[in-house]
Symmetry: C2
Subunit: 413 residues, 2 copies
């Protein structure tokens, strides 16, 4: 079962935006057991679109096309599709109705520009867009089924998941089973993990091991194909256990889990509460923690104490500590962690202070110097780091190590 | 002057990693005045690579290929390239020497696997890789020049910038000039802007207008090509002024500017200072503000008051206000804005409170209900919004409208 992906847009051929649509569709098709043999991108140019649509390989069952379905003059995909498939454009009643309903719901008048969007190649079937005005459509030619979707990522994703993938699965119900599990790793390099697992990778020939780095994390993706669902799932679980035994706590979660969701689950299961004092991260740690639904159950408050005055007034960091050791020091970080824990009356207090740059570095505390302190009962644990990179990288790495140190601590109590 | 880009790798066709190489190369070529007519991606499969290399359009001057030059068995691009270009593979002395030097520098022995990498198609010229072992190569066929580069992004980028782009510019020194300006828009739809500018777009035929949506913002990219640098720059400036006159304050910045950097510049030029109280955004507003270098000059502090206790204790929001109107109300938002302004002793106090969901909504305050208050001197301005989407979308839209209301207010004082 093979597919091609075609993405259309000058913003892609000029490198103005990342082509996230192609990656998303490829991943979804791959997971559904369909092999993507080619991904092509062309600009908003009728001859190019017609030529790429006509050049599809004969053995391909599905072609997924995104982009160029909007109301503006440079949205020419539908017309080019009609030409490539040798069909006429005609007013599609289902598409018109869907668009009228959409505009009524929005309480806005429908412009003539929009009506253009309801003209589809003859014989095409409309694909509803639950969150936008541009509907999609599907059209068959010889043994190939074409799907045309808008380029707006969140609209395309909804339509792919709700309509296109179910249609594909219906067309080919006997697709080979594919099961994957993604183990999320932080704290070691890909080479380290690859070497640590090398014997296991050689032994377990039925499983495909792939390392997908998305700095600073790595996802180890285990994939198994076959027809016996029970056997595949049992085997995958067994290999997952072996991997976990070898790599230990550098695996922080799996599949859709994030470092912050794992920290949240641990706080909840330990019935612990948290307050945070952030300096150089400027709110990023708390932003990540509050991305998790229900985080108000364990997160009491956070203070972003950018100024020394705020550190003194709000957290009672002594002026002598700030003067003697500086705002970026182990002493200040510890005083901040104890201060926020006391103020929030929480089980744990987490504090970070550092130099995010680009200015503010000194020879003994260069840009990237960061202290992370965690206060719990009478205990206080402090880490010192030196991160490289620009301001946003230093902010992110600080938030990452702060959350990870919290995670590792919660595993021990 | 036209080019094609070909990226090779199973990790791309399976959607495991973002194809950042294609975007980077497309952007660099576009900036150099070269039109990218197609971007293609195929997996690590010899027939596919050969077929895509042979299918290049005849009028294309340059083909940039990435991926598959490494030492492992699935790195087959060089062999496929030799087949496609009908050349033999032969040991390239410059490539071998570069690799030997590299391994000596690393203090590691060179394996037979690596020697494979020094075999290039006959007649090819080696492209040095200053930071890795896989060198690249360039090879001509008819009127087309092919460049083969490794897939590791940082290696590819260095080689593109240091060798490939200078070679391309040398081949075609009379390359047409391209100048672009990106105007960043928030608060109206693409259709609205397109319609508002329709007369101007018709009039200004020398300028290409492209709308690049990256929700919830839109970049309007104006591009002009030609040979007279002065004329192009003057013309672009004039059209930029016309666009700004038509669209007004929904244009918040241009090119690399962000909403938070523009807010920062306005605060700085007005000599204003800011404190923030965040509830439903959980630190995101402050995270965005502190992404801007030097933000500590105008940002005094932020409090993330998730609990009612924190709102009362830290911001002196009266218990009666919380009880009578609720934590998500105009009254609470205004009390928070005044409280944080007083506490931070700053010119401005910004506060948000809302229901980010998925839980916590009621019939009169459903998920997505948000109040944004801005306190300045004795004045207080409050907006009520109802945002759609999931938790992270509601958080983001709240931060976006909060920063934008601050921007618009700063334009008036």
């Amino acid at each position: 079962m093979k597919a091609e992906i075609i993405t259309i847009g000058d913003e892609l051929t000029s490198g103005s935006v990342q082509n996230t649509n192609a990656t998303f569709i490829a991943d979804q098709l791959h997971t559904a057991g369909i092999e993507v043999v080619q991904i092509s991108t062309v600009g908003d140019d009728t001859p190019s679109i017609v030529s790429i649509l006509r050049g599809i390989q004969h053995h391909v069952s599905f072609v997924l096309v995104t982009g160029g379905l909007g109301p503006t003059v440079d949205d020419i995909t539908t017309k080019a599709a009609a030409e490539a498939l040798r069909r006429k454009l005609e007013l599609n009643k289902a598409a018109l109705k869907a668009m009228e309903d959409r505009f009524q719901k929005l309480g806005r008048p429908m412009s003539p520009h929009n009506i253009k969007q309801a003209y589809l190649p003859s014989g095409a079937t409309m694909i509803p867009n639950p969150i936008g005005t541009a509907c999609g459509f599907t059209s068959a030619k010889s043994n190939t089924l074409f799907f045309f979707l808008p380029g707006v990522p969140r609209e395309m994703r909804r339509m792919l998941e709700e309509t296109v993938l179910p249609l594909i699965k219906k067309e080919h119900p006997d697709t080979e089973l594919v099961r994957t599990v993604g183990l999320k790793i932080f704290g070691k390099t890909e080479s380290y993990c690859d070497q640590a697992l090398s014997d296991l990778i050689k032994e377990e020939k039925e499983i495909a091991f792939a390392f997908l780095p998305h700095y600073p994390e790595i996802t180890l993706k285990l994939t198994m194909r076959g027809n016996d669902k029970k056997f595949i799932e049992k085997k995958l679980k067994a290999v997952e256990r072996k991997v976990t035994k070898i790599l230990g706590t550098i695996i922080f979660g799996k599949n859709g889990e994030t470092l912050e969701s794992v920290v949240g689950s641990l706080l909840r299961s330990q019935e612990a509460t948290l307050s945070v004092a952030e300096s150089c991260t400027g709110g990023l740690i708390t932003h990540r923690l509050t991305n998790v639904p229900g985080s108000s159950d364990y997160l009491e408050r956070s203070l972003i104490v950018y100024s020394n005055r705020a550190k003194k007034e709000l957290l009672q960091v002594p002026a002598t500590t700030l003067n003697r050791f500086g705002a970026v020091s182990q002493e200040t970080a510890e005083s901040m962690a104890q201060g926020i824990k006391r103020l929030g009356k929480t089980t744990l207090g987490l504090a970070v202070t550092g130099v995010a740059g680009p200015a503010g570095g000194t020879s003994d505390k260069p840009v990237g110097t960061v202290f992370i302190s965690l206060a719990h009962k009478r205990q206080i644990i402090t880490q010192k780091h030196l991160f490289y990179g620009d301001r946003s990288q230093i902010k992110f790495m600080t938030s990452q190590y702060a959350l990870d140190s919290l995670r590792k601590y919660l595993l021990t109590i």
